[in-house]
């Protein structure tokens, strides 16, 4: 059987089963050629996007072995197992565990552990243990040596393609007779350097594989987030398993946070299922915290929502985002308990109702009433607090927030003139169209109908004209004339007329009179 993708000249083989490979089918071959060799070849269209998604899922699942997992190319996973292997009884034990669990999933894999990423890549893909004596024919994973010399010995029999070179460079080397890494390593460096001057340099690749040169990925030290894991001897499938795991995980994580003088802002709890999938839930806090009782309370509800399906066999609690927090204090605002209490309240509300439901006002630089007041999540997660569009405006850029703190008097106090306040206390998310009797073109309104109710206007103040923001709004936006009106029983509303007759904008181009909207309610 073979998977095919559409090439320029018909279907091309993307991947083959071992049986098909035995019949001569190779990836990159055209399907018609393969059918010539073996007419019964079954061809199924490949799904590269699905493969990629599956690999990503697999990468998340592989977090059970290491907190740093990277999808490597289209068919590989790279795990940084530095400091991790001893948890599984050394590197050999780790490899055995990996193979056993992949086998349980029904996946075949080639795995290798080595001191450098390049060497691990090469060993995993090209190391073939079967010709070696004493291996008993069984496929065994390669465990690369520690030192450079040992590594060089291990890599020497592998073909040069194992150095992750492009195919032209590989072909050039093979044409030169340098078929193995060992042969390449025996050549004088200077003569090689003269021939290969491009980025695709076999010397570089060799150095990276042998650890003489750091790989860009490993060159940058990545801070491992605080993490606590719990491995279970037997899979558990009752729904309270997650909550019970917290009893162990939270104190462990808090101990680690304490040791590193950090306070958690975002926590994620992952439950690893026996079938290889992962269930996860995350919570965020408004201020950094490592109070076990508070964190446990936030997580408990979420933990119960994890669906065990066939059962969990491991849990991991990770502080994905943490901030510095001094050694002695369990919170930033130890002395003013009011702020702490409010922050905890926000945490609880956000966990239960969702972070978007709990918000604080934020002033923004705009004349339009609905744009002047934005909302930000009370648990500011720092990732995309301002990416939301302004309410009631379609497709316009959101004005930048003013450089004021998001609360504590971020708005200038309402300008109370004689009588009514200038701004309403309530604003409709979407201004609602009302039918208004008024004297055209710019007379004051006399009566309006809103939601089928007739309001006779007893008193009116206005207009207050708000011009469109041409630097932000779409061309053709119309001005607004706002009126503060009071109906015959004393209800006060903020209504506006959009545009004036003859301004040639918006619907006026079709000869439709300006429309009226009800926007706010006064208290």
């Amino acid at each position: 059987m073979a998977l095919t993708i559409e090439g320029a000249h018909g279907p091309v083989i993307h991947a083959v089963t071992s049986a098909a490979a035995g019949q001569g089918a190779r990836p990159g071959m055209r399907l018609t050629d393969a059918r010539t060799l073996h007419p019964e070849l079954i061809a199924v269209p490949a799904d590269p996007a699905g493969d990629e998604a599956a690999l990503r899922r697999l990468a998340r699942w592989a977090l059970r072995w290491s907190p740093l997992v990277e999808v490597d190319g289209a068919d590989g996973l790279r795990l940084d197992v530095g400091g991790v292997a001893h948890l599984f009884g050394g590197e050999a034990g780790l490899i055995a565990d990996v193979e056993e669990r992949f086998e349980a999933l029904g996946l075949t894999l080639r795995s290798a552990v080595a001191a450098t990423a390049g060497a691990a890549w090469a060993l995993a893909r090209y190391y073939d243990p079967s010709p070696l004596a004493g291996e008993g024919g069984a496929r065994r994973a390669a465990v690369g040596g520690r030192g450079e010399r040992e590594l060089a010995v291990r890599l020497a029999p592998l073909p040069v393609a194992a150095l992750r070179l492009s195919s032209p460079a590989t072909r050039t080397l093979e044409r030169l007779g340098l078929k193995t890494i060992g042969a390449l390593a025996g050549i004088e460096r200077r003569s090689l350097a003269r021939r290969f001057r491009e980025a695709d340099n076999p010397l570089d690749a060799l150095d990276r594989a042998l650890g003489r040169k750091l790989e860009p990925l490993t060159a940058e030290p990545v801070e491992v987030p605080p993490r606590a894991t719990l491995r279970l001897a037997e899979p558990v499938d009752h729904p309270e398993a997650g909550a019970q795991a917290l009893n162990v995980l939270v104190p462990r994580l808090v101990a680690e946070l304490e040791a590193r003088k950090l306070g958690a802002r975002t926590l994620s709890l992952a439950g690893f299922r026996v079938d290889g999938s992962v269930a996860s839930a995350s919570v965020a806090t408004a201020i950094p915290s490592r109070d076990p009782a508070h964190l446990a309370r936030l997580l408990t509800d979420k933990a119960e929502t994890l669906d065990p399906r066939f059962g969990f066999d491991a849990f991991a609690l990770t502080a994905e985002w943490s901030e510095p927090l001094g050694a002695a204090q369990s919170s930033l605002v130890e002395e003013s308990t009011g702020e702490l209490e409010v922050a905890r309240l926000i945490d609880r509300l956000s966990v239960k109702l969702g972070p978007r439901a709990v918000r604080r006002p934020q002033a923004r630089g705009s004349h339009l009433p609905e744009q002047a007041s934005g909302w930000v999540g009370a648990v500011a997660n720092g990732l995309s607090p301002l990416s939301r569009r302004g309410v009631g405006q379609r497709g316009f850029a959101v004005p930048a927030p003013l450089s004021l703190p998001p609360f504590h008097g971020s708005f200038p106090p309402p300008q109370g003139g004689e009588g009514v306040r200038k701004l309403p206390q309530r604003l409709l998310d979407q201004p609602e169209v009302i039918a208004v009797i008024y004297s055209t073109p710019e007379g004051v309104p006399r009566r309006f109908v809103w939601r089928r109710g007739v309001h006779d206007i007893a008193r009116v103040e206005g207009p207050e004209r708000i011009a469109p923001e041409w630097w932000r709004q779409a061309p053709g936006a119309r001005l607004r004339d706002y009126y503060r009106v009071e109906d015959d029983v004393g209800r006060r509303y903020w209504i506006y007329r959009e545009g004036v007759i003859g301004d040639g904008r918006g619907r006026d181009q079709q000869g439709i009179a300006p429309m009226w909207f009800l926007h706010g309610l006064f208290g």
Binding site: R359, E418, L427
Partner: protein, 246 residues
Amino acid sequence: MGVIRVAAALSLVAGEGAVAPFGPAAPCSPAKAGVQTGEAVGMPYRPAGCGPTLSELFAATSRDGGWTGFLLPQVNSARPLLWVQERMAVLQSGRIYPPGLPSRDLIHVEARDARGALWAMEEGLRCGALAAVIGELWGDSKVLDFTATRRLAVAAERSGVACWLVRLGGTANLSGARMRWRVASAPSLANGLDPRAPGAPAWDAELFRARGRPPGRWMLNNDSGAFDLVTEPGDRALGEGERRTA
């Protein structure tokens, strides 16, 4: 006499630590307010007469936002305010608009339904650092029964945080609220600068049930930030005659 009755009533509403809407921030003493609080002695929570408690406020219709102006001056502005709105209330009566509100630390919660809103209110009442919890519910919800309101009342009295349960277009069924108001907008006072423009807002507020005190009905207005009693309803035209400004 009407004036004294109002003073007592609004002190009760505002509670301890809140802005006394009438006059200088006089501490609410039972003797002065003339309210019997003996029943509260020995209760596990604060006496219902003086401390912050649960008040229920009925807006006549969801198209009347007047109650917002009636409620806000009674809330202490120094501490954060939790404002919970059910989604239906947002759709019907609009979302609160911070630029129009007095400057304060505000936390807004938009709950999907009445159940979520009540949960958020109760959770807020457990946090003693808030100035007040205001919750807006639309219509008559099944979950809003006597037990739910009673829970809110006990939580409010235990933590000392005033709670306002605002009912938009709901009917006054059985409730555990200590005070129940019906508030509607009234024609505003005359505007001194422009006779055609609206003046200071006024409300027709009816306290139709309160623990330990007789109910009553008053016409109030809010001029220069403090509550004024205008007149007894029906006595005189609005804005005329004596006004008690304190």
